[in-house]
């Protein structure tokens, strides 16, 4: 009797396993087609030889990576030196995306907190209001931003009219303009995960902290933040990662001097001047960088959790 029950139990488990495999199949197919396949294609292309009018010749070559990291002189016959052009573009991308993420956090956190602490009927209204501007195409939003920020634009007019400044601030074509553009492009990706985390937060914990003599600031730091940290981290990743590879904001707001990695990649696939293997190699390097940063932050997170526990 007992043996029968046991084998019956394991049979059920097997059935579940099988069912699970089949039920998960669509996700696997989607992921393979939409994520794995493009990445593999890009990986292959990055090791091919470039065709001069765009496209590739199916011949193995390391020249794309070589071009990215090394300078062999104008004719390619000098001993290789480290090439700083692309590395510095990379560095700038990380920096710009980092600043944009901090800006989003500074504005997005209070916004999310505000929305999550409204009444239950008002919360969806606020979320809706926050997302409305994002129904407009990103390109149009970025161009409008350039219009707003330019020397004779409404922002400078306003500041001059109220007498805060005498001559227009040059904002367009600076790093700051790019940071603002990135910040504005991805703000909802910061607000929404933090909002979700704060909404789930049990506010009686804040009451308990206040009851135990904690000030508002201490309560935020010691009780609220640790509880909603996953939402904050998700928001930062969701803003940082697309900012790194973005090309609209740097192109339109940053001008030629403030080139970012996204623009570099975009150039390689546009028109006849492009270099597909080089673009693919730069994409692979960007992807690896992002993965390394994510893994690093996940490791730190795990370590911090362990130290606390």
């Amino acid at each position: 009797m007992a043996a029968g029950a046991t084998s019956g139990g394991s049979a059920t488990t097997d059935t579940y396993k099988e069912a699970r495999t089949w039920l998960l199949l669509p996700s696997w197919v989607t992921l393979s087609i939409l994520v794995l396949a493009p990445v593999i294609m890009m990986l292959i292309y990055s090791f091919l030889t470039k065709e001069f009018r765009g496209g590739v010749i199916w011949e193995f070559s390391l020249s794309a990576y070589d071009q990215f990291f090394f300078d062999r002189g104008l004719f390619g016959d000098e001993p290789p030196k480290l090439e700083w052009t692309y590395i510095s573009i990379f560095w700038r991308s990380i920096w710009q995306a980092g600043v944009a993420t901090l800006l989003s956090l500074a504005i997005g956190f209070p916004t999310a907190y505000f929305i999550a602490t409204r009444s239950e009927e008002m919360r969806p209204v606020w979320v809706f209001l926050i997302t409305i501007p994002y129904w407009v195409n990103l390109l149009i939003r970025t161009v409008s931003m350039k219009f707003l920020l330019r020397d004779q634009g409404p922002l400078n007019d306003f500041l001059i009219n109220i007498g805060l400044i005498d001559s227009p601030l040059h904002i367009v074509n600076t790093n700051f303009a790019v940071q603002l553009g990135l910040f504005y492009s991805y703000l909802p990706f910061m607000v929404l995960p933090i909002y979700a985390a704060v909404e789930r937060y049990n506010f009686s914990l804040s009451e308990a902290a206040a009851d135990l003599y904690a000030s508002k600031l201490t309560t935020l730091r010691r009780v609220v933040l640790p509880a909603i940290k996953p939402g904050v981290i998700a928001g930062c990743i969701l803003v940082f990662v697309p900012s790194m590879g973005s090309f609209l904001a740097p192109d339109l707001l940053g001008g030629a001097k403030n080139f970012m990695i996204g623009s570099l990649i975009e150039e390689q696939f546009k028109g006849n001047a492009g270099n597909w293997p080089f673009g693919a190699a730069a994409s692979m390097i960007l992807l690896s960088m992002v993965l390394i940063i994510l893994m690093f932050s996940a490791r730190q997170q795990a370590k911090a959790d362990k130290a606390e526990g």
Binding site: N202, S204, L205, E207, A208, A209, A210, D211, L212, Y213, A214, S215, T218, R222, V223, P226, A227, E308, G309
Partner: protein, 371 residues
């Protein structure tokens, strides 16, 4: 009718919490209607009432989580109604415990001590002692989610007691525990209160719990205080229908008062039955009021007893472990519930259903209620 409160005052004890004419309104809704009460230092004080009567609201006003709409609250003579919660030397054991999920048990208990300016190591040492007091030392490195409900409850208690508050507020702290654990915790709480000497204000909707644990009880209903007194006071001398009905089991009889002589009221129940009991202030001749008689104050016999007796017939006997509950049908009158303790079976009789017999009581057993 606050004579007991005033008697305690005369013992020269300090008033820990003084609530004076406190009103709480949410918009048009009045959650508390002019509550006044004085809670003595060292007292185990209970707010008792059905769900929604305003117990939590009153407790949260004392803790500082709800503003007082009107009136004042004093803590050892200092007006505190306008202080934020983190400035009030009062701690709360929350109904859902509200333990910090990302901190260890030890850090949870140390939190309040740290906030009061103790160094981290000092706070932890003290927190360790508190955990010992509630017998949870071996769990100090765990997270709250790794403890059972009863253990979490004790952590919440240790956390709230650790900073040595002047008053401890407990909002239905035992309601989520099963019966056995609840009984054990009732004793432990009572014990802790004696040991620490801290004033406890305990909220419950469980009248039995309130009777077991409290020095004094405030019975509340619909935002109003119905009666304030010791457990015996409230059980044996309820002021009104609500209190008599809410506390314990009782026979509530509609009676009309025929005569009052020498402090005795002669009352008429339906069907020509007559009962005499002690007269009560506010109940005059001719008034139609209710009388409360506790089932355990009644006993049955074949012949009428020398005290108050009513003729009736046994309807049903129900065995409930420690007692037998008998339902008696009075001829042309109301039904009576009689409780006979099983330990009393030698002295008291149980009759078969259908038997005619007499229900008897002492003279003072009936209590007139001034509704």
């Amino acid at each position: 009718m606050r004579h007991l409160g005033e008697a305690k005052l005369a013992e020269n004890k300090q008033i820990a919490i003084d609530v004076r004419d406190a009103v709480k309104r949410y918009g048009d809704f009045t959650a508390l209607k002019t509550i006044s009460l004085s809670i003595m230092d060292n007292e185990f004080f209970t707010l008792l009432g059905p769900s929604g009567c305003g117990k939590t609201t009153l407790l949260r006003m004392i803790a500082g989580f709800e503003a007082v709409t009107e009136g004042a609250i004093y803590l050892f003579g200092d007006e505190i109604a306008n202080l934020p919660p983190n400035k009030r030397p009062v701690n709360t054991v929350f109904q859902n415990y509200a333990l910090f999920p990302h901190m260890t048990i030890l850090d949870n208990v140390a939190f309040g001590l740290e906030m009061r300016g103790k160094s981290k190591s000092e706070a932890r040492t003290k927190a360790g002692e508190m955990l010992e007091l509630v017998q949870l030392s071996q769990f100090s490195a765990r997270k709250p989610s790794q403890l059972s409900g009863g253990q979490q409850q004790r952590v919440a208690l240790a956390r709230a007691l650790a900073p040595q508050p002047k008053v401890l507020l407990l909002d239905e702290p035992l309601s989520a525990l099963d019966l056995k654990l609840r009984k054990a915790m009732q004793l432990e709480l009572k014990h802790l209160q004696r040991e620490t000497g801290i004033t406890f204000i305990f909220v419950t909707h469980d009248q039995e719990e309130a009777l077991t644990m409290s020095d004094r009880i405030a019975v509340m209903s619909a935002g109003e205080m119905q009666q304030l007194g010791s457990p015996t006071d409230i059980y044996e001398r309820p002021h009104n229908m609500f209190v008599a009905d809410f506390i314990g089991e009782t026979n509530l009889l509609e009676v009309s008062v025929d005569a009052i002589n020498n402090g005795r009221a002669v009352c008429h129940l339906g069907g020509g039955h007559e009962l005499t009991c002690n007269a009560v202030e506010g109940v005059d001749i001719g008034s139609k009021v209710h009388m409360s008689i506790r089932p355990e104050r009644l006993f049955m016999s074949e012949n009428p007893a020398e005290t108050e007796s009513l003729k009736g017939r046994i309807k049903e006997n129900i065995f409930v472990g420690t007692d037998i509950t008998t339902i008696v049908d009075l001829q042309d009158g109301p039904d009576f519930v009689v409780r006979t303790s099983n330990s009393d079976r030698g002295n008291k009789r149980i009759f078969e259903p259908g038997t005619e017999m007499y229900v008897n009581m002492e003279l003072g057993a009936g209590r007139l209620l001034a509704d």
